[in-house]
């Protein structure tokens, strides 16, 4: 089997490894998988952490390692978190966004500028008539909002994008 096919196989496996704090959203669809390398029967997966203080990182590392080592031709899988590339909420895939909504979590806004207020539509009814209750939520990566149309509280992925990627004065 070619390396390319093997990488595809691993990618498919990673699409089924869920984030421990966001069940049914995979670490792949959250954009945490940076790259995969295959050397014979040894696999290395380089990942980018979401928030620095995220306590789930150790669990994610373990879950990814175990899932990849389930593949019959894999002897060992090394998982490494790298800070050479910064995770941003722009890396969440379209599948990831849809999965988030199913769990009452809105995907991050697309036009966010660091330091500015932002808003998102309700994941349940789609209304834009929402209010920010707390920018800080139950985990580092989520905020708490309220929908004034369907009267449901909901959460949203807190947008983070690279500081250097917007041209504005600070």
């Amino acid at each position: 089997m070619m390396n390319r096919q093997r990488e595809e196989e691993i990618r498919a496996v990673l699409q089924a490894v869920d984030d421990p704090e966001l069940p049914a959203v995979s670490v792949y669809d959250l954009g945490m998988v940076h790259h995969i390398e295959v050397h014979g029967t040894i696999v290395s997966v380089v990942m980018v952490p979401t928030f620095a203080g995220c306590p789930a990182l150790d669990f994610i590392e373990r879950d990814v390692k175990l899932a990849v080592e389930e593949i019959d031709w894999v002897d060992r899988c090394h998982v490494q978190f790298s800070f050479q590339h910064q995770w941003s909420t722009e890396m969440i895939t379209n599948v990831g966004k849809e999965q988030l909504k199913k769990h009452g979590i809105s995907p991050p806004p697309e036009n966010y500028r660091p330091g500015e207020q932002w808003t998102v539509n309700c994941p349940f009814c789609g209304s834009a008539y929402t209010s920010m209750e707390n920018i800080f939520g139950p985990t580092a990566c989520r905020s708490i909002l309220y929908c004034r149309d369907c009267r449901n509280p909901f959460e949203a992925m807190k947008p983070v994008i690279q500081y250097g990627s917007v041209s504005q004065t600070y």
């Binding site: 203080g53 800070f83 941003s88 500081y163």
Partner: protein
């Protein structure tokens, strides 16, 4: 000196490269200890507030910021571990007070009592301290994105993305309390005056400051001070007229108070029961 100057304009891409130049390594480690110990002690004091903030949303916000900030400290301690300083858990929990480099003001107790027993903590201190610190942290991190040590520049980029929210939160508290009741205004002002006498060492780089700047690890103290002051002046209604002081001592040269010893005795308690434990 000529040879030295040539070396100084070099970009240092890896841990391995940093270890090859002894003078560079010393300056780098000194700076990383300041970053790590500041984040660690300020988030420890933040953690003591858990469940005690003025209302539930403030509590969620403060604990989230604190957890995140603790994560930032971990990143620096791990970098120090890679640079040969030993296990990162040990660096956080097992160093003696005089080995720590945090600003003394950041170790100051939240108030009287402890988080378990009669915690009479002062919210005005929490607001002023965290606001002053987050402004400094932003200034420092922005400078660190241009650091000659690439792994530090990368970490700085990462932290800045998250820290935007922390700074905005504490700035909001300062602004709102300044426009609140007379009681709130005077309490905030009192803590600002106090911070003015004590925050001085936070804006300094310690005895290796010159080397830190020469090796282009960070900007100099003057540049940091100006940037910090610009933001502070834009936010505070009344700026104390005297220069910033170091009444409690200078943490950058290893000075500390009994408050740091108290903090260590609490946060290292579990670690000391079993240093080999795997979490």
């Amino acid at each position: 000196m000529e040879r030295g100057e040539k070396e100084m304009n070099r970009i240092v891409e890896t841990i391995h490269e940093a270890k090859e130049n002894r003078a560079y390594l010393q300056a780098l480690k000194e700076l990383l200890y300041q970053f790590a110990d500041d984040d660690f002690i300020v988030s420890y004091r933040g953690s003591e507030w858990l469940g005690l903030a003025p209302h539930i949303e403030a509590d969620v916000a403060f604990s989230s910021i604190t957890q995140n900030t603790m994560g930032h400290a971990v990143m620096y301690y791990r970098l120090l571990e890679e640079l040969g300083e030993g296990d990162s858990d040990r660096l956080a929990h097992h160093r003696l007070p005089h080995e720590r480099r945090n600003s003394v003001y950041l170790e100051k107790r939240n108030g009287s009592g402890t988080y378990l027993d009669e915690p009479h903590f002062d919210w005005a201190l929490a607001v002023v301290r965290n606001y002053f610190y987050e402004v400094l942290k932003r200034v420092r991190l922005q400078a660190a994105t241009k650091s000659s040590f690439v792994p530090l520049a990368q970490i700085a980029e990462k932290i800045l993305m998250e820290q935007t929210y922390h700074l905005a939160h504490w700035k909001m508290w300062v602004e709102q309390l300044q426009q609140s009741t007379e009681d709130a205004k005077s309490r905030i002002q009192e803590r600002i005056e106090e911070a003015w006498l004590e925050f001085g060492d936070a804006l300094q780089l310690g005895p290796k400051g010159d080397q830190i700047v020469q090796h282009q690890l960070l900007v100099d103290e003057q540049a940091m001070y100006q940037q910090w002051m610009k933001e502070i002046e834009a936010t505070l209604d009344v700026i104390p007229s005297r220069p910033l002081g170091k009444r409690l001592g200078d943490g950058r040269i290893g000075e500390y108070t009994a408050d740091l010893e108290q903090a260590i005795s609490v946060f290292a308690e579990v670690y000391e029961t079993d240093r080999e434990a795997v979490w």
